[in-house]
Amino acid sequence: MSVMKQTLRRFGSLLRRNTVERGLNEEIRFHIDQQTEKNIRAGMNPVEARRQAFVRFGGVEHMKELTRDEFRPAFFEDFVRDLRYGARLLLRAPGFALVAVITLGLGIGAATAVFSVVNRVLLSPLPYPDPDQIVRLFQIDSNGRRSGNVSEPNFEDWKNGVRAFRSMAEMSAGPEPVSFGTETEMINGADVSRDFFDVMGVRPATGRTFNADELRVGSAPAVIISDRLWRTRLGGAPITTLRLGVNNSVAQVVGVMPAGFDYPSGSDFWFPRELSPPQTSRTAHNWWVVARLADGVPLEGAVAELSTVSKALKRRYGDATWMSDATAIRLREHLTATARPTLLLLFAAALLLLLIACLNVSNLQLARASTRRRELAVRLAVGARRGRLARQLLAEAVVLTLAATLVGLAIAVGGVRTLVALQPANLPRIEHVDVDLIALLFAMVVALVTAVALGLTAALRASKPDVREALSEGTRSMAGGKGSERVRQALVLGQVALTIVLLAGAGLLARSFINVMAIDPGFETVHALVVDTQWTFSNDPLVRQRRKAVQEEVLRRLSAVPGVERVGLTSAHPLGTGWFSNGQFIEMTRADELQTPADLQKLGPEVKSRAGNAGFRIVSDGYFAAMGIRVVRGRVCEETDGPDAPHVAVISESLAETKWPNQEAIGRYIQFGNMDGDLRGFRVVGIVSDVREISPESVPGPLFYGCYKQRMASRFYVVVRTDGSTAVTGAVRQIIHDADPDLPLQIRTIEDAFDRALAGRRFSLTLIGAFSVVALILATLGIYGLISYLVAERTREIGIRLALGAESADVLRLVVGRGILLAVAGIAVGLVAALALTRLLEGMLFGVTTADPVVVGTVMLLTLVAVLIASYLPARRALRVAPIVAMRSESVLPAPPGIGRGYFLFLTLARCALGLVERAIGTPRIGLEPGRAGHRQHVTMRAVLRNAVFRRLAPAARMEPFGGRRWVIGAGVQCVSPEPTRRVLRPAPPT
């Protein structure tokens, strides 16, 4: 019969336990009766016959027990009983239970929440077929810099030249105006080339992809939309009835992508790239390229081939392309690249926290184990097997962990929600995060194993020594198992060390955050609005002219709005979301040197020495003032710099310094025609301060500003500096709407953009900070628990010491000193670990090194204070012990009132600190005073403090120790020297 069936039978017997039990009894009775009858027949008297029958049978109860083991599911039953017993024990010690459950729950919850996010964002595959075959292609320039923006001719050459990819597509993503009938909104979308859907391996859930006709210019345009847009904005109407205004045309919706298709992230529509004119410049880096690996081609092979092709292109086109090499990266890796360090950091922190929580609970378990020695000894004495005891302890641990897991689950649910709500912009797919049950299970097992295994082994070891000794060991024991005490000290030390690591990490992140906040970004962050208008690029001169008029009208009306201080236009603003175009310029001898693009080619090889690189921005005259960018020298664009006047430009300080060091930059001519196609040169008329455009911590790049009346840009933002009144937003919206009703608007503040730029930092700082605070609390609790336990165990000893005349402060020092020793050791270990581990943080630090003295000092101080508090509280309890009470019993009574607690705290802490200093550098002497015997003696700080205590404590007379009394405080060992303290009674000094 199978084991399974037998087990089922055992469980079956549970249901009819009484029947089985009655049957067994009857059977035994029958057996004894038969034997008795047989004995009687053999000639015994009935009484003797019955007795002999029992003798022959053996121990009835023992045999019943053995028989029961055969039919009932013993292990299971016992376990259930143990669980019940464990739960009862926990309820009987609610303080312990509460602390342990909450502590473990915190650890489990934090680890689970963070892992859920890590799993979803970093580990789970993208929701596309064979997602690891999809790669993003990057070009590499001669300086080795990687860029995901590729020029179209290079893309075409890759596509035709590299065999390792089955399909390849280019795309350009971003918000674009989309009109739904009469309304226009900014919607994220992408222009994608023909093979895009092949590369992704996804077809529309409804409808179809673009057909060949729809990819030809001049045909009826078509668009594919996202499930999200279809359901929320378009109400899920049949797609044949849906038309959207996209790209200055009305496009028929031909397909709806499946829900969950989200590439490029946040896109709601996909439009054929083929419907806009091809780009022929190899330096117009406007396209992202994705590709799908051909079957059986490893990524390395594809990268090698791509690199070969790209190098050949470089040889062929030379300076016409900036690409000198190329590489491919799996799409998943690319998407998670920015999030990975943050998440891994968080994950590490959460694991540390879990570990600290486990150490804490182990400690509690150990403390309980030593108090349960008697109970366990009794169980052993009455015949329990050691394995059975282990099982019982395990069951208790399971109860504890289950309860903690429930708490952890609640915390994880809340935690995941918080993480999603904090939603730092760089976490892809975070909105789909749920609590990961595997993670919960994992955390639970870690908790069970670490927190419990320790308690278990300690309990078992505690039960091992002579049972008789353990039983007879009364309440008057001086100390519990030295071994378990040492383990507990190690645990507390570990907690302190881990806490230091977390605190140091949090401290470094906090300093970095403060440093970033303190940076001068080169512009004013407060009271500035940015209006993202969709004045998109147009080649039509009439459209451009009309648009200029609208822009001027808007600027004029805006400056008249009350509350508006300055108004400006720019093609890209700092911390913005749009393109930061960047290009190569050439210094010329005169503004009109070049007339046609062909002239550019005629320039000799010496042009290289005259070339430079800068960001290219087109701004209005008010921009610098509106943005708060300082004018260093010269002037900025002015009203008079109209279309027909000579073109002028303003450059940033760093451009001036790098391009013309120690020379005058103003007055030079610059050719920047490759950016906007206009070959007229600029004359530099002014220099402005540097701006950190990408993020507050980025290095400011060289910038070149042209004037908006003279040059055109593909897009304009209106920057409005206000006096802080919020009413301005409405007015701005109204004015722009009046000027151009079709223009969709997005109004943001620079402050928001600044906040967003810091969001990632704030996210990690908040979480790591929270984790380290929890860790500190747990470590404090751990020390508090350990010291309380020590005090409770040594109450009687302390009583004796007090009775013999030990100073209260000395008792305090004895107790608190222990805590401090632990803390100092923990801090030392923690600092070493922190120095090693925070190196992993280096990429996230700003303006601070991992060994920052301020951070290290603060962390040390914080921990020390926490430890002092944690050990002072139990120490104070020890001090209140009335000696006689302490010697008679273990109970702890408060001392008579009248002694100022604050004063004591101060004295105790001061003496503790002093003790440590003395230990390290010897007794500090602070002066000389007349000694008792008439000669001068050294006055120590210690003596001063001691006298201070005495003046409070001894009203009439005092006992003063002298002679060879000393505490020996070693690693975990403290005792009184064997030489007894001699005391003399002296009259109190006159007050």
Partner: protein, 103 residues
């Protein structure tokens, strides 16, 4: 030897269903009183064999009009007994060969 006890019990039941006391008597009788079962060890063995499906039990009334639990071999029990017997024979034969080996 636990296995031995199980085998003896199976053997005792081979002829007819019997109650626990009867089994001890039968074994004692067959072994010419050499094997006196610690009677207490019998019941765990019976419950075990029943759990393993080698025997089954039912309540019957004895000749003296008392209720007793009778155990009977199942088909699987007979098969198991045959196997164990063969194994036992093989082993004891082998042991005998060793012990009887002429020096």
């Amino acid at each position: 030897l636990q296995g031995t006890l199980d085998m003896l019990v199976l053997k005792a039941l081979q002829l007819e269903p019997m109650h626990g006391w009867g089994i001890t008597e039968r074994i004692e009788q067959w072994s010419e009183s050499v094997l006196q079962l610690g009677q207490g060890t019998l019941y765990p063995a019976l419950y075990r064999l029943e759990r393993q499906g080698l025997i089954r039990s039912e309540w019957r009334v004895t000749a003296n009009n008392r209720r007793a639990r009778y155990y009977a071999l199942t088909r699987e029990g007979r098969r198991q007994f045959a196997e164990e017997l063969a194994e036992w024979r093989r082993m004891s034969h082998a042991i005998n060969l060793v012990l009887d080996a002429s020096l």
